[in-house]
């Protein structure tokens, strides 16, 4: 077995981290902002984020075996490095609390309405923490298996969905008069691509080779294509008028499907309940892993099991505090995207420039 994260694992890690939550609500968000041109906005956003991904992976490639807290120390000194690490810990905490509340909210809204959300989180958080405790390499191996199953099943579900209604429902594909709207909607397309900053805590090995840059670039473009498939098929299924009413639009669309020719699997929502949620679980586990790795570097003497227990308890308490808070959700979806841009673009690009100035090769 490899003792480093392979390029394929990096691709699936990105895929699960980015799509796990966004796949549920991206169709509504894009339909409401870009309308029939959503696919174009998403593809343009994926191209932009593919370049951001290149910046991050170039940085990791320059400092093989290191993660952000290591090379930021070399580039900016101890104090600024600690500040940067603290920023990422805070940011990932924000995301992990948001994802936990969203997971319990989706489960409550769509599948288990009578089960208290606190119980859902009390059951799931220890599992995420256990996976994170096993470390980056184990997570990499897990996402490779889960990612492949998730990609095949979810792509198949959304492709089948595309055959369910007339394509009239998603046309015109491009309207020149709405071009400005498509451009404006890029703002909505930021959040679904946030998560690529997770690469900053993945140390690269010599064995990854230069092809890791191509892998990351193509992985993000593929995620864009997957999002476009999800958005178009969900709009096609629910209709442009009705999709606006559903936050969890992808789940509602999947639940609408009944395949009479599939006697053993007429209703496909069971696939989302199993494969879709396993992808979601892995996505959250990756973020827990990032927090643990950063904290372990910040407090090297602390035991990993103690740190992950503290992270688990704190995230549970924070999630309980903001459980019913609409303001928190709005804060993450709105301000969170700017915090994410700082984490995914501003800090990495600054560090990359510094590394060039200081001539790290």
């Amino acid at each position: 077995m490899n003792n480093y994260i392979t390029n394929r694992q990096i691709a699936f890690l990105l895929f699960l981290t980015l799509t796990s939550y966004s796949v549920v609500d991206i169709a509504r968000a894009m339909a409401a902002s870009a309308g029939y041109g959503s696919w174009l906005t998403i593809l343009v956003a994926s191209l932009l984020f593919a370049f951001i991904g290149l910046v991050i992976i170039s940085l990791n490639y320059r400092f093989k075996g290191d993660m952000i807290c290591d090379y930021s120390k070399k580039l900016t000194g101890n104090f600024i490095s600690i500040v940067i690490t603290m920023y990422y810990i805070f940011y990932f905490f924000l995301i992990v609390v948001f994802l936990n509340t969203q997971l319990s909210s989706i489960l409550e809204a769509e599948f288990i309405p009578r089960t208290p959300r606190a119980v859902t989180m009390a059951v799931s958080i220890p599992i995420f923490c256990f996976i994170a405790y096993k470390g980056v390499i184990t997570v990499g191996r897990l996402v490779e298996y889960y990612g492949l199953i998730y990609l095949i099943i979810m792509a198949a579900v959304f492709i089948i969905m595309l055959t369910q209604e007339s394509t009239m429902r998603i046309r015109p594909f491009f309207n020149e008069a709405d071009a400005y709207l498509y451009f404006q909607a890029l703002r909505e397309a930021i959040f679904p691509f946030l998560g690529i900053e997770i690469l900053l805590v993945i140390p690269l090995s010599h064995k990854n080779g230069k092809s890791v840059k191509t892998t990351v670039f193509l992985a993000i473009i593929s995620i864009g294509l997957f999002y476009a498939l999800v958005v178009e098929s969900t709009i096609l299924k629910l209709g442009m008028n009705d999709i606006m009413h559903y936050n969890n639009s992808a789940i509602v669309a999947i639940r609408d499907m009944e395949l009479s020719f599939l006697n053993f699997l007429k209703r496909l929502d069971v696939l989302f309940l199993t494969v879709g949620f396993s992808g979601f679980f892995m996505g959250i586990s990756v973020v827990y892993t990032a927090i643990l790795e950063l904290l372990s570097k910040l407090i090297p003497k602390a035991k990993r099991w103690l740190l992950i227990m503290i992270i688990g308890v704190i995230s549970f308490i924070l999630a309980m505090i903001v459980l019913e808070s609409q303001a928190f959700t709005e804060f993450v979806l709105d301000t969170g995207r700017y915090l994410g841009l700082i984490a995914a673009l501003v800090i990495p690009i600054t560090l990359l420039i510094l590394s060039k100035v200081k001539k790290y090769v």
Partner: protein, 381 residues
């Protein structure tokens, strides 16, 4: 030791999650609803709910009708919420709506509007969004009585009828998800299947036209063939086509259609091309179908189909003035910017239609019998 504790805790948590936590409930502890009828009487809302008796015993609850396998429970109230409360007060078990196959509106209720109850269904998570919505006469009990002898519930019987007809394109899509989309749109007009009880059978006798959420008119089944051609991609129908002094029974298959729309001099125009494949099933004479007769059958068949299409369009443009064919979608796709500012109902009422038909008539192809071949000696007779 720590590892063992972690694994034990995980096994416990995973097995706990398999129990579905608080949502776990034995199927025998739920009242499985199969049909819901929503009606109106003296300013009061009425629910008739058909429940499946899983034990197969006598009716339970305080129903008016019912038999061994199914129980009908009726409840009334000033609002839907109050009616549901009244219904719950009569039932010993919590109602499960995931098994509902059909939701029917009585004509009185449909005239008041179907939107509110559809919105209610949108938010009642248990409802399948793929279930069909229909309209029935006000005498809802007659519907349940007609199905009394059937082994299937009323909901299952109607759903099976709709699905069977859908397979040959002889019904229209009336799924809840489709209706919710129509109701959310700017121009919401659509058709709902209308069922009546006839001689202990449930019969699809036409379509109710719903405009802006309210029932506005009724189209009988014998005027609906054109509607099927315009709304469905695949339709099989049978015509008795006159030729010379005889009649040919012809099965017509709609293979495809192409809708072209244009906008000239503030006038909406539609040019719709249909491709048909037609099969002569039998003749009412022993004489052969010659090539001359074949051409006559083809021409007369084209006239009959064109008549059906014209009836369908004229009805939609005059009586309710409603585009329940969703033809606005073709116009929206081609002229999205003009469409935004249009009063579509007015434009649709004045739209011009042109149909072109391509019929590929095949005499007796499917069977081991060709009416065109004669005994050679017959020519000498």
């Amino acid at each position: 030791m720590f590892r063992r504790i972690i694994i034990s805790v995980l096994i416990f948590i995973v097995s706990l999650s398999f129990c579905s936590c608080w949502d776990s409930l034995d199927v025998n502890e739920k009242g499985m609803a199969t049909t819901i009828v929503v009606g109106k009487e003296d300013d009061e809302d009425i629910f008739w709910v058909e429940f499946a008796n899983l034990g197969g015993g006598q009716s339970e609850g305080s129903g008016d009708g019912g038999g061994e396998k199914f129980t009908i429970v009726k409840a009334t109230g000033e609002t839907y919420a109050m009616t549901r409360k009244a219904l719950d007060n009569k039932l010993p078990k919590p109602t499960f709506l995931g098994t509902v196959r059909i939701v029917a509106f009585t004509e009185s209720m449909a005239k008041e509007g179907v939107a509110e109850y559809c919105n209610r269904m949108r938010n009642l998570q248990e409802y399948r969004k793929a279930l069909n919505i229909i309209v029935i006469p006000d005498e809802a009990e007659e519907l349940f009585d007609a199905n009394k002898e059937s082994s299937m519930s009323t909901g299952h019987t109607i759903e099976a009828t709709v699905h069977k007809l859908n397979k040959t394109g002889n019904s229209v899509d009336s799924s809840l998800s489709q209706i919710l989309d129509w109701l959310s749109g700017k121009h919401n007009c659509f058709l709902l299947p209308h069922f009546v009880a006839e001689e202990e059978l449930l019969n699809l006798d036409g379509y109710s036209v719903i405009n802006e959420g309210d029932l506005v008119s009724f189209i009988p089944m014998d005027e609906s063939t054109g509607i099927h051609y315009l709304l469905n991609d695949f339709v099989i129908s049978t015509y008795t086509v006159p030729y010379d002094k005889y009649n040919a029974t012809v099965e017509v298959h709609l293979k495809g259609k192409k809708v072209e729309t244009s906008y000239r001099n503030n006038q909406v125009n539609y040019d719709i091309h249909f491709d048909f494949f037609a099969l002569v099933k039998y003749l009412d004479t022993t004489k052969n179908l010659t090539t001359t007769y074949e051409l006559e059958v083809e021409e007369n068949l084209a006239d009959l189909i064109a008549d059906d299409l014209n009836i369908a369009i004229n009805t939609s443009q005059t009586e309710p003035q409603s585009d329940y064919f969703d033809l606005c979608e073709y116009f929206r796709v081609k002229y999205p910017n003009i469409f935004k500012d249009m009063d579509w109902e007015e434009e649709y009422a004045n739209a011009k239609f042109k149909f072109s038909l391509n019929i590929n008539l095949l005499p007796g192809r499917e069977y081991d019998y060709n009416p065109q071949v004669d005994w050679k000696g017959k020519e000498d007779e």
